[in-house]
């Protein structure tokens, strides 16, 4: 295979298992090289997944804490003080702690869970397995990518234990709160650690993204042309391209921020008076400049989060409907369109910052254009399900749930994309509801679908189905019960980021509703712990996998042994003869990609 020829060409330490035929001999691996500094993409994927889970629990717990404050602003919880110490004096979360919790919840969920935890896991796991490669283009860079992510996590975690607390100026880290240490307690050491952590995270994302692109374009097995790739790979490819082109822009924004913070420059700062410090000498800077640089990443970032989920959902819907995906080329085209448009809409996050209204109208147009490829995708998912022979596995349930959430959240995007409506809706709970449904929960559903579907390949065991169904129904019902009411609150003008709404005459009416949301949030959080139990219990005690291809799927990962070693296939890498979606063709339930095209087959 050209793939092996490439692996042999450079004498890296990771290639010694790249041999095709004499693979049976036992390669000696120590605990360290197998589980810690592993260069096997499958192990790195699991490392990303479990680290992501750790952050998901922590980030979710933070939301439970601040929902306690929002739902029960007058109550005290003595156990909170024993847990959080001075941040919950008298059992009441302090305003500083509240803002720190909201900020860290956002940063952690967006970057650590839904970027690293989602595309880190599934790009690593699925790309080599589904394109037919022994490993990534550079297993070493791949390992570095994980460890940079790990280091970013350690730094972020440490920021929670400094005296002045973690950064508390919102996950977007707008200056001046992020640029001036005197602006708030969280802007001191907490912000230093935040920016170091994010810089490490950018490096991790870039190393990963470079590898994913190089692997997909260069290491496909014989016969695997680009148009035979499963849609998961296409989605992960566009995700990586988005990341590689937009993260450096965020990085340059951070560099200017570091200079403003530490070296007295005035890129973002102008005419500022800080209470207790006095007037600052900085002149001529513009905080809007930071917003441009931030959102040039920030908007592609939401597609970095969403596209992997879309890809996995396409694959899982097709496998479990026993039907080819509807409109394969249209799916690729719409992914491509979304990837292009992702770079052209960033200013819709800035409609009310004093942006030129004429410029705003162009961004409205471009933003609303995203509805076209999104609608194509939704149409194709529904037509894939249409008259399918549907198997409601937990993975399938979550995939269908993803489509539901994507529709609900996508529709409110059309509201928010209008600069005129945005004057009323910006910075309200309407925005919170929109992006949590369409980007947050929907992508979590894509991730759950992926975990339920590929768990047998990852660990050679099944997850428990009953727990899976409980997990699904409580989570989807809870997601709608949490975020649906927020639309009403937002339409009534209730702003985001406030500490206590019960003291506002206009928002007093929502006290009961907020309590309801908080209660549901806690129940949903508890059910995620049930999922974690299912996950870890099943790794060790789950029902064992006895067949290679439990779902009857066509893609290459199911041709590997139940527990594939480093190198994935014991012998030759299989050759591919057809696309990944020959389900229900010519009376066959499914025809794997490795099956040669027969003479009696209908059109191919």
């Amino acid at each position: 295979m050209s793939n092996e020829a490439v692996l042999h060409a450079h004498s890296g330490a990771a290639t010694h298992e790249g041999h095709g035929d004499h693979h049976e001999h036992h390669h000696h691996e120590t605990f360290i090289t197998k589980y810690v500094f592993s260069q096997d993409h499958k192990m790195i994927a699991k490392q990303f997944l479990i680290t992501g889970m750790f952050w998901a629990v922590l980030g979710g717990l933070m939301s439970v804490f601040f929902r306690l404050q929002l739902g029960y602003p007058d109550s005290t919880f003595p156990w909170l003080e024993s847990l959080l110490g001075k941040w919950a004096k008298g059992g009441h979360i302090t305003p500083e702690a509240y803002y720190a919790l909201v900020t860290t919840h956002g940063t952690v969920l967006v970057f650590f869970v839904l970027t690293a935890g989602l595309s880190g896991t599934f790009a690593n796991f699925l790309i080599p397995l589904q394109i037919g490669a022994r490993d990534m283009a550079s297993p070493f860079l791949n390992m570095l990518s994980y460890w940079f992510f790990f280091a970013a996590g350690v730094v972020m975690l440490s920021s929670m234990f400094v005296e002045t607390g973690p950064f508390s100026g919102g996950w977007t880290a707008y200056p001046p709160l992020s640029a001036l240490g005197d602006a708030s307690p969280g802007s001191k050491t907490g912000m230093d650690l935040w920016i170091v952590s994010m810089a490490l995270f950018v490096v991790s994302s870039l190393l990963g993204g470079l590898n994913y692109i190089a692997t997909i374009l260069n290491m496909r097995t014989k016969g695997m042309s680009m148009t035979r790739l499963p849609l998961t790979i296409w989605a992960l490819f566009f995700t990586a391209v988005l990341g590689v082109l937009s993260f450096p822009v965020l990085f340059s924004g951070f560099i200017l921020l570091i200079f403003d913070r530490n070296f007295g420059t005035s890129f973002y700062l102008s005419d500022i008076f800080v209470n207790g410090v006095g007037a600052l000498p900085n002149e001529g800077g513009s905080a809007i400049l930071y917003q441009h640089l931030f959102w040039f990443l920030g908007h592609p970032e939401v597609y970095i989060i969403l596209l992997p989920a879309m890809g996995m959902v396409s694959e899982i819907l097709s496998v479990n409907s026993r039907k080819p995906i509807f409109g394969y080329m249209a799916m690729i085209g719409s992914l491509f369109a979304i990837a292009i448009l992702a770079f052209l809409v960033w200013a819709h996050h800035m409609f009310v910052t004093g942006l030129n209204p004429f410029l705003g109208s162009i961004f409205v147009l471009l933003t609303l254009l995203i509805a076209v490829p999104s609608a194509i995708k939704v149409f194709n998912w529904l037509t894939t399900l249409w008259r399918g022979n549907i198997r409601f596995t937990p993975g399938m349930m979550f995939a269908i749930g993803f489509v539901s959430l994507f529709i609900s959240g996508g529709l409110t995007g059309i509201w928010l994309g209008n600069s005129a409506l945005d004057i009323h809706l910006h910075d309200t709970y309407f925005v919170i509801a929109h992006f949590h449904i369409v980007m947050g929960v929907a992508s979590m559903f894509g991730m759950f679908a992926g975990i339920y579907h590929w768990f047998p390949k990852m660990y050679g065991k099944y997850l428990n189905n009953t727990l899976g169904y409980i997990h699904f129904w409580v989570t989807i019902a809870g997601a709608y019960m949490i975020f649906w009411p927020m639309h009403y609150e937002g339409l009534a003008g209730m702003p985001r980021r406030y500490y206590d709404y019960s003291i506002w005459e206009s928002f007093k009416q929502f006290v009961e509703l907020n309590r309801f949301i908080s209660t549901v949030a806690m129940i949903v959080f508890a059910v995620q712990l049930l999922f974690l139990f299912n996950f870890f219990y099943s790794i060790f005690k789950g029902r064992k996998l006895t067949t290679l291809n439990p779902w009857g799927a066509n893609t290459l990962e199911w041709t590997t042994p139940i527990r594939p070693g480093h190198g994935n296939w014991p012998g030759e890498i299989p050759e591919v003869h057809r696309w990944a979606y020959d389900y229900g063709k010519d009376g066959h339930d499914f025809i794997p990609q490795t099956t040669p095209v027969g003479a009696d087959e209908s059109h191919h």
Binding site: S2, H10, K222, P248, V249, S266, G284, H292
Partner: protein, 191 residues
């Protein structure tokens, strides 16, 4: 599968491909910074000043180093190892010289009372400093890569006949050269 089948049209080496994608990513960073520069320049209180004269000479130095590394790659492929080592050494020295000259350029601005950082600084000078400094870091990375390759060339035990490392370093070196040419044109005539 036979070897005949596996010799498909020569594909680009994955590492080289990764480098190209990585360079695209670096381009995005400089594109972001220079467009921020343009946005900022069109706002109030922008300080106009002459670019240090030494930047002209440093441009010449980095151009010369691109020539020497190209010759080094040629020498490696011809297995003229002495010539190769000399050329790599010259390239690395030119790289360090470039860094020193950029530093001197900064110094000359400071001497003219144009603060690059600190409370008295204007964004015009700060931008010049930050962007140029980031470029210097990228050149430094190239110098380090050359040093690693240079010492590998002296290893007696392991003989390496693969031209891939030096080709990768060469591509990167031309790339940072091109970035500086872009920045130089940008500072002088666009920004």
């Amino acid at each position: 599968m036979t070897t005949v089948q596996t010799r498909e049209p020569q594909k680009i080496h994955p590492h080289k491909f990764t480098l190209w994608v990585g360079m695209g990513s670096i381009v995005m960073m400089f594109a972001a910074l220079t467009s921020a520069y343009i946005v900022k320049k069109n706002q109030s209180s922008w300080l106009e000043f002459e670019l240090p004269r030494i930047f002209w000479y440093s441009t010449f130095v980095i151009l010369a180093s691109s020539v020497t590394i190209q010759l080094a790659i040629k020498a490696f492929k011809a297995r003229e190892m002495n010539r190769y080592r000399n050329l790599v050494t010259i390239t690395a020295i030119l790289g360090v010289l470039f860094l020193v000259m950029q530093g001197l350029g900064f110094q000359s601005l400071e001497l003219k009372n144009i603060a690059l950082t600190g409370a008295k600084s204007n964004s015009a000078a700060s931008f010049l400093f930050v962007i140029t400094f980031l470029h210097m870091l990228h050149v430094l990375g190239g110098v380090i890569a050359l040093l690693v390759i240079f010492f590998k060339a002296y290893r007696q035990k392991v003989k390496n006949y693969s031209a891939m490392p030096i080709e990768l370093a060469g591509t990167y070196w031309h790339f940072v050269d091109a970035i500086w040419i872009y920045l130089f044109i940008f500072y002088n005539w666009i920004g």
